[in-house]
């Protein structure tokens, strides 16, 4: 549990293994919500929030419940149920304690249950970080660091992409490429740029 672990996990999850451009998780909100910068910021804040809580909870459940009781094969069912109920729970808590936060994040929270980035990060934590011998707190710390980095990377890309898209709306694109095709090509060029960061760690 050190700062180096935290910094490495965040940097690699945010820039090198970017969740959208390299791992292709969360493409639906990437194409759907990124039409305006303001909604992109709201969505990515909600995703970051839920992702950190969800990865901590799912890691805990896997390490303390599913593995000791010898039922790791139902992890998919358990995780999706946990995430779905967690999203509802978070929505209720935010509604109760912070009206302005609920106003800005509220409409994005129901969409998050079917956001593959959340389940993807939870599953990735199990296959990538969890081992039989890792102490619980150490693994949990790494899992949370990775999910913070992933959430930040998601926000970074979705915000940058929404800014590009606002420009793209006003530009003169051939009719066949209008809309999603040109957005995908722009995303491909962004992904090419991020491929160049692969060597920094």
């Amino acid at each position: 549990m050190s700062f180096t672990v935290f910094a490495t996990a965040i940097l690699s999850a945010m820039l090198i293994n970017n969740v959208i451009l390299m791992q292709f998780l969360g493409i639906c909100p990437f194409l759907g919500v990124s039409k305006k910068s303001s909604s992109a910021v709201g969505m990515s804040a909600a995703v970051l929030f839920v992702m950190v809580i969800a990865s901590a909870v799912t890691y805990t459940i896997y390490d303390l419940v599913l593995y000791p009781f010898d039922i790791p094969y139902i992890s998919t069912i358990a995780f999706i149920l946990v995430i779905a109920s967690l999203v509802q729970f978070v929505e209720m808590v935010i509604k109760k304690f912070s009206k302005p936060l609920y106003k800005s994040l509220g409409i994005y929270l129901p969409l998050i249950t079917t956001n593959c980035a959340i389940l993807g990060v939870s599953e990735g934590n199990i296959t990538g970080i969890w081992t039989e011998t890792t102490p619980y707190w150490e693994g949990l710390f790494t899992a949370v660091s990775v999910s913070v980095g992933t959430g930040l990377g998601f926000g970074l890309i979705i915000f940058a992409f929404s800014s590009i898209r606002e420009k793209l709306d006003g530009s003169n694109v051939p009719a066949a490429w209008k809309g999603v095709p040109i957005s995908l090509v722009v995303a491909g060029i962004m992904s090419l740029a991020f491929l160049g960061l692969a060597g920094i760690i």
């Binding site: 292709f24 998780l25 998919t76 779905a84 249950t113 095709p181 090509v185 090419l192």
Partner: protein, 255 residues
């Protein structure tokens, strides 16, 4: 809607990827080769058909408020079955698909079909819809997969991830033999566009394929609009001629 239409609608008219843009994550992530795309598609066919059948069977019992969580649990059960089967019979495919195998649970296509079709129709129709839509999804994945693998390696391979029917990996299709007609030492795989097997190539390849679909559609729309315009002009001309004819008749009658 007849059963045949119900089955065929998933391929072109309501194709999940090319028309509705559902399930884009696997469409980008697992389509680096033909085989992984085919494998993913067939797994989705199985899960979609199974979940559609079960959802249409239990649609009367589930209260309306909790139907989405219930559908998700049904889908997750089938995904777990598929995960174990793949692990047992095609471990290479299991490793290649990685995290995208459990992520079939949150594929919008499957929940969308459960919500939009299976919860309103009977078992037989739902099963047909599941198979048709799943095969449409497979068709789209395979198109992208062939496009990417051909551009990145110059051929289509079989037997690496799906070790069925063959002992050794074989080339289903390759351009090598054409070039061997005049140059023996040439290997086309060395000159492939490797970027198409990497993440950027996935975005660009899907962009190109979607653009070609959109191009076809815009041209069709244009043609339809032009045909309509021609029809209107024709109608106007006929109306004008009729008017003239009646005017001449009236004039003759007046005489």
């Amino acid at each position: 809607m007849s059963k045949k239409e119900n089955f065929l609608k998933g391929f072109f008219k309501e194709n999940p990827i090319f028309v509705f843009l559902l399930g884009m994550c696997p469409a980008l992530a697992v389509t680096a080769t033909f085989e992984t795309s085919l494998g993913m598609g067939l797994l989705v066919v199985f899960v979609l058909t199974g979940s559609n059948i079960v959802v249409s069977l239990v649609k009367g019992f589930i209260p309306d408020q909790v139907r989405t969580p219930a559908y998700i649990v049904i889908i997750a059960t089938f995904v777990t079955v598929v995960k174990m089967l793949t692990f047992a019979y095609a471990i290479e495919l299991y490793d290649a698909l990685g995290v995208f195998l459990p992520l079939i649970v949150v594929n919008c296509l499957i929940l969308g079909r459960a919500e939009a079709f299976a919860s309103k129709n009977n078992v037989v129709d739902s099963a047909i819809d599941g198979i048709g839509m799943g095969l449409g999804f497979t068709f789209a994945l395979v198109v992208i997969g062939i496009f990417r693998e051909f551009l990145s390696t110059g051929g289509i391979q079989w037997g690496v991830y799906l070790p069925f029917f063959v002992d050794q990996p074989i080339h289903l299709f390759t351009l090598d033999w054409i070039i061997h007609l005049w140059n023996d030492g040439f290997v086309i795989a060395d000159y492939g566009l490797a970027v198409f097997s990497l993440p950027p190539g996935a975005f660009i390849a899907l962009g190109i394929i979607l653009a070609s679909f959109q191009f076809k559609k815009t041209r069709q729309d244009k043609r339809e609009i032009e045909a309509k315009k021609l029809l209107i002009i024709e109608k106007k001309r006929i109306a004008l001629e009729k008017k003239k004819a009646t005017a001449i008749k009236l004039a003759k009658a007046g005489e």
